[in-house]
Amino acid sequence: MRSISRRDEMSLAEPAALPVAASAAPRLHVLKRFSDRFKASLPAYLLLLPSLVFLALFTYGAIGRVFIDALYQRATPKAPVRFVGLDNISAVLADPAFTGAVVNNLVYAVGTAIPSIGLALLFALALSRTNAVSSALRAALFLPVLIPMVAASALFLFIFLPNVGLLDHYIGRLLPVLPNWLGDSDIALYAIMVITVWKNAGYYMLFFLAGLQAVPEDVMEAAHLDGAGPFMRFRHIILPELKPTFLFVIVIATLNAVTQVDHVFVMTKGGPSNSTNLVLFYIYQQAVEHYDIGKASAATLLTLAALMGLTALSFRTMANREGGP
């Protein structure tokens, strides 16, 4: 309903935008119309072809392969692979290591997204005016983004060394017992989360800085004249204006929480006792340690489904916003 009325509005408002549709003959041969359209768009397809080839090779082909691999399994080491339908999926769902990884990943996603977005907003607000000092500070806060995750993890490995690491050296005096940051199954996941927040906050700050530029100056001034204090302006003008930025950053942060496991790989290998095992690392373990391609593919499909659902949801939210009054 809405889309139809919208289209009417559009054609009324911009009649010049649809001259072809308006002047086209009412009854055209379907085939001819199709071939005309094809001819018209042929150059476009040709231009897209190189990308399509590579997409087919490295993206769609791989996705197709995962779908197929997820349906096959071998019963014993020497037996040939055979079709097992959804057995792999149910095996993954029944695996406590997988459900553990999902729980860890949820904790990790929430625990990294909220602090890093909060910090990013704080940094952006503090550094929104451009001058020499704020530029330098922006650069400093952005620096962690430039360090590759693997290198950062290797650095943090030393910082977190129990008893002799940098962290224990400085705050060790204050604690009654020195924790084994990466070796204690209660703490390790949080240690990993700290690195993610440290690494990503500067990145998200960029989006908020850009979002702040879009806050209309006149509205802010008007609010100022009306006697709105800094908090009122933040609550009623800046935050609503930043809503699209928030949505975007939340999606990015969630995707990062699922797709970035370099630090897990370098620092803990999912341990101790699977306490830092995240879903992507679980998939990796199934594929290369257990040598179980079927189960790895099934877990990939489940993750993919969850991510697609999330993306669709966020796109719908954004579309609703734009389509709304």
Partner: protein, 443 residues
Amino acid sequence: MLFTRRLMLGLAMAGTMAGALAVPALAEGPTEIDLFFPVPVDGKLARDMGTLIKEFNETHPAIKATAVYTGSYDDTLIKTRASIKAGKPPSAVIMSANFLLDMQIENELTNLDGLIAADGTTKEKFLGQFFPALQGNAVIDRSVYGVPFHNSTPLLYINADKAKEAGLDPSKPPQTWAELTDWAKKLTKREGDKVTQWGIAIPCAYDYCGWMMETLTMTNGGRYYNEEFGGEVYYDTPSMLGALTWWNDLVTKHKVHPPGATPGPAVSTSFISGNAAMMMLSTGSLTYVRDNAKFNYKVAFIPRNVRNAVPIGGASLIIPAGLEADKQKAAWTLIKWMTSPEKSAWWSRATGYFAPNMAAYKTPDMVDFLNKNPDAKTAVEQLDVAKPWFATYKTVPVRKNLEDEVMLVLNGKKQPKEALVAAQKAADETLKPYNAETSLKLP
């Protein structure tokens, strides 16, 4: 999918044609081979490997070998398998000695018997060059699948200065668990509840943890796995229960061992910095300790509770399956060269691993070296009581089944007995497909 497959075929054909065009030009050139090598311990192994391969290429103009660094032992297995799957196996790999059985089960190894016979020698004669303790991990079903390259055993490292400070005599290191516990207690320093110096540290991270559990279990009279058959492990046994309980006691009862799971590099750093007065670590770390310790140290056998016994560690050279004959031959030349007494001895001095080739210890350089560094002798002497490293179907997951539970114990989350019962159950589940095909496949 069809579309993709055609494309792949097209690309593959184009590749083959390009290859065919290139071959005549290369026919006169040297055979190019890749060697995958891991760096599993502390130190500068990667640079030493570069030196070794450079010398090989200079002395063998017909072969051009390239050393490819592939990460840890576990990563090396993964990358080798990925290359085999991609149809481009490396020509030779320095493979963790306990992965050979798993690879053989998956048909990923070249049986070396043919290459040995082609040299006009016998298996017995060929294997006779190496320490007997190493043969268990190189021979599967009476066929040779690997050539021992660098090997290790766990050692007890003692900070001799700290021992003297505590009134202990470092020339008489602890020989039993009871003595070790006593030493560790005397070497632990506290300020209130806080420990400023740990008596002993034993590494526990994936890979190391399983090896240390095997070590402790063996010194407690037990076995980790069935040496003759890849479908059984012995986790829920009195000998392993005793081993894990003692380790746990060091942490929770005596409080002389840092809690939680500590990886190998963290343990060696702790020892070097004086934070841990003793540690159990691979002989592979000996050179690193020698180069970095600013104090007198002493190495000793792993103390026993029931008997002196240790597993070997380290790696063997293997040739993956599915290689062209010329590459296979070139790889075999490289392998024989790398495991010859001189090179074996050189590598041992560079890394701290012991040389698997017994003749290496008769070379003049090595005799000299041992006289100067008597600590390197301990590892070799311990070989008399060494036994194979655990190797089963799916070694890594089966090992992880135990390690996850051991880590829970060291973190105070589980008692040793319930942990080992859980580990046994999980491992039996992992081994089930293999048993279904072997021990439980009945007529």
